[in-house]
């Protein structure tokens, strides 16, 4: 396998630090107390490595994540922007993005975000009885007030904000309250993640037997509110599912982002790197060893692509995709479940359905199809 057989790079996840200043109960980051930081020389090496790898064949997103990115000083990102100019002088190739818990956002950050045209995703789980029960500081205090201050600050600086809300079993009773919450705080773009079983978070409140039906009812009701609002709220799950319903059906040969090798490249603050699901960074298994396949300071992409470790991983993931193709009626829309979820839930990549599949793929597709058909019947 050569660089031409993998990628192209679509998402570069860089972990400037594994540290997070808060301690959410469902967090999948195994090392979030570690205050290590990526140095600027190492960051420069990472950019050079990426651009020398042959993976960059189209515009891609650079996501600062896998720890709270705003724990770093703003000057780090000013320097990063300077380094990026060497590879992307006119700024058309790379879109930078922060995925942040929002608690540290202030005017200085907003000015930096505007200066470098960085997209911002803020994690917020809704009203206090939902958000503060899960997204807490290490001393157990809720974080909602600080997040809302951050969102207000983004609005004051005319920075568009997309929020990600993690849905737990409890959230499924509150679609109207979540809708009101987004409207009240000027949030126009929403993405729902489900509470997944990943890394050190080894269980989920969504494992109950009635959850699939509750999730379907939740999403259906939320979409009814969001799509009829003026202007409609943008709901990522609806957009993605509608996109895949209207797109050409997938086959095992068309890998989706998370299962296509090196379409995602995850670089940790020490220079180690992995591919496939970002949640695999910093995790190891008895069969595959550490999912970090190499280090940008010592290993080339070519050396990784011919390594037995990568080849075994790729073979197992390919087997899992084939199994999804054989067994799942949603395959043509989905292309196979995310490898990370399969590994964390089923213990192997050579497996099929996960909690994520049942809720985030199957229910979202079913509900979206219902809404599209209903809309069509009205016209």
């Amino acid at each position: 396998m050569t660089a031409a057989d993998v990628g192209p790079l679509d998402l570069l996840v860089i972990q400037p630090t594994p540290f997070c200043n808060i301690n959410c109960s469902y967090c999948y980051l195994p090392d979030r107390q570690n205050t290590a930081k990526m140095s600027l020389p190492l960051l420069e090496q990472a950019f050079d490595w990426v651009f020398a790898s042959g993976l960059v064949r189209q515009p891609f997103t650079l996501l600062w994540h896998a720890g709270e990115p705003l724990v770093m000083p703003p000057a780090f990102y000013d320097s990063a922007a300077e380094l990026l100019k060497k590879h992307d002088p006119d700024g058309t190739l790379i879109t930078q993005s922060f995925q942040t818990n929002g608690t540290l956002l202030n005017a200085e950050w907003c000015e930096l975000i505007r200066r470098h045209r960085i997209h911002v995703g803020v994690s917020v789980d809704g009203p206090d009885y939902l958000h503060d029960s899960r997204r807490r500081t290490r001393s157990g205090a809720g974080t909602l007030d600080r997040v809302l201050n951050g969102i207000r600050c983004l609005h004051e600086h005319d920075i568009p904000v997309q929020v990600i809300t993690v849905l737990t079993a409890e959230s499924l009773a509150y679609p109207d309250e979540l809708f009101d919450f987004y409207c009240e705080h000027g949030i126009r773009e929403v993405a729902f993640n489900v509470e997944e079983i990943e890394g050190p978070h080894t269980s989920s409140s969504l494992l109950g037997c009635d959850v699939k039906e509750r999730f379907r009812r939740f999403l259906s009701r939320f979409l009814d509110l969001a799509l009829t609002h003026d202007p409609p709220l943008v709901v990522r799950e609806f957009e993605l599912a509608a996109g895949s319903i209207h797109a050409k059906r997938l086959s095992p040969g068309n890998r989706v982002q998370e299962s296509q090798p090196f379409a995602i490249l995850n670089v940790a603050c020490d220079g180690s790197f992995s591919t496939y699901s970002p949640e695999l960074l910093g995790v190891s298994s008895s069969r595959h060893g550490n999912f970090a396949l190499g280090n940008i300071t010592t290993d080339t992409l070519e050396s990784v692509l011919t390594s037995p470790r990568f080849l075994a991983l790729e073979a197992e993931i390919a087997r899992g995709i084939e199994m999804c193709h054989e067994k799942c009626r949603y395959f043509g829309f989905c292309g196979g479940g995310p490898p990370g979820n399969k590994f964390f839930e089923n213990g192997t990549f050579a497996s099929t359905e996960t909690l994520f599949c049942r809720l985030h793929k199957q229910v979202c597709l079913d509900v979206t199809l219902d809404k599209l058909e209903h809309r069509k019947s009205l016209t």
């Binding site: 009773a173 509150y174 679609p175 109207d176 309250e177 009101d180 509110l225």
Partner: protein, 170 residues
């Protein structure tokens, strides 16, 4: 411990800012005081709930029309919301909009729930206690429980605005 009082609880799937303990009043001489001591509860509980802000906004839109043409649509949305919350109104329930003035009496026959749609708190009176309903909050009543809504003070400039949901007549 004094005589048992009707049970009051927050309905499942709802979150109220002030849970049931902080909003129950008991007689105190000529007036009423917050119930702070433990008390015995009896019967199926009356359930506190609240309507979401988007339904209240819709209600204000309905009020713009002097003929209240949008009221049936609003009532239907309230019904669907409550059904989602597993607090489903009875089949063929009647939804009534009532302006409750200081001198007015409220017909509480077949009352399944009362919702405060005004802009100040109101009090639902059950045998032996009063329950405060903040703006957009409601109280669902078990079948056997008699209830009335305390009229606003005589010097109030506006009547209470109530949504009554009634069981269909037997």
């Amino acid at each position: 411990m004094s005589a048992p009082l009707p049970a009051v609880a927050v309905a499942p799937n709802f979150q109220l800012v002030d849970p049931e303990g902080g909003r129950v009043l008991v007689p105190d001489g000529a007036g009423w005081r917050p119930l702070t001591e433990p008390f015995a509860r009896t019967g199926e509980p009356a359930l506190l709930f609240s309507l979401p802000a988007h339904l209240r906004s819709l209600f204000f839109t309905v009020l713009q029309d002097p003929e209240l043409k949008g009221f049936d649509g609003f009532a239907s949305k309230v019904g669907r919301f409550l059904a989602f919350k597993e607090l489903t109104p009875p089949t063929r329930a009647a939804f009534e909009l009532v302006l409750h003035a200081a001198e007015g009496k409220l017909d509480s026959r077949d009352l399944w729930a009362v919702v405060n749609l005004g802009d100040r708190e109101v009090f639902a009176e059950l045998p032996g206690l009063r329950v405060r309903l903040d703006v957009c909050e409601g109280l669902q009543l078990p079948g056997e429980l008699a209830v009335s809504v305390v009229p606003p003070q005589a010097d109030a400039t506006e009547p209470d605005v109530l949504l009554l949901i009634r069981r269909p007549p037997v």
